[in-house]
Symmetry: C2
Subunit: 160 residues, 2 copies
């Protein structure tokens, strides 16, 4: 049994989705870091992602546009902070491309991947500035939303 | 003659201090990255820095407290983003320790150091979210303030 990793989670400020899935870290990483793949799973259906761009380097831009069934578009732009292939991906919407301040920041997200047998322990952590923002994100359905997306990701990976 | 480096400066959003000083990058780097040295030069005198802490890793905290002659204290907290020893240092106040969003962000600062003869070309870039924040920082005296600090840094380094 491996030691529990120190994920530095602050329960008063962070939200966490922690699940084991039966696809390997290598394929989860690919689904997260190729724009064309992201479009297929990164929002709960029937929403869609018409646009996604991934500039996978610290300071690089991570941008998606989510679209609801009525055709309204919701762009999300952030900046990658840390990239450890098949292990850890960190980005924030408090910064835009090249680390420029966005003016406001909703969250920093960290995706931790751990090999577990033939599968992956998938831990997504959303960090917030204060308990109010955490509560708002919880009400928006972070855990359910990201959980639904993860199910879609696993289906996608298995279809490759 | 070396090619002009691409510093990716946006003149509508950024402020720049660009000066050649007659001390080498190695010593400038030391003055910037050792908390006890920072206290001696990082604010224009007669202000002082009673507290400084440097956790020199991506995600690590950079914190200083500036104090005016009347004894009022002004804490500044940020997060290191990139550390390339003796070459480049990037941090932002849009994030706090461990990349957590600060809730608001005033600037991301990048210090670029280039060896130039026996000295250093010292380029400090402050990136802002919008032209209004840039203008505010300009009125606060970014170039003069950072310039005065740099003069103090050079004096300090020469005293070692």
């Amino acid at each position: 049994m491996s030691q529990e990793p120190d994920l530095r989670i602050n329960p008063e400020l962070d939200l966490v989705l922690d699940r084991v899935v039966d696809v390997p870290p290598r394929l989860v990483w690919r689904a997260w870091t190729e724009a064309e793949q992201l479009k297929k799973w990164f929002v709960p259906r029937p929403w869609t992602i018409p646009e996604a761009s991934v500039d996978l380097r610290p300071g690089g831009m991570f941008r998606t546009v989510m679209q609801n069934p009525e055709g309204e578009r919701f762009p999300n732009e952030g900046c990658y902070l840390e990239i450890v292939p098949e292990r850890r991906l960190v980005w924030t919407d408090a910064l835009t491309e090249g680390y420029r301040p966005a003016g406001a920041g909703f969250m920093t997200a960290t995706l931790h991947l751990f090999a577990e047998g033939a599968g992956t322990r998938y831990v997504a952590v959303a960090q917030h500035a204060d308990p109010e923002t955490r509560a708002k994100h919880e009400e928006m359905g972070f855990v359910e939303g990201w959980g639904t997306c993860l199910t879609q990701l696993v289906e996608l990976v298995k279809s490759w």
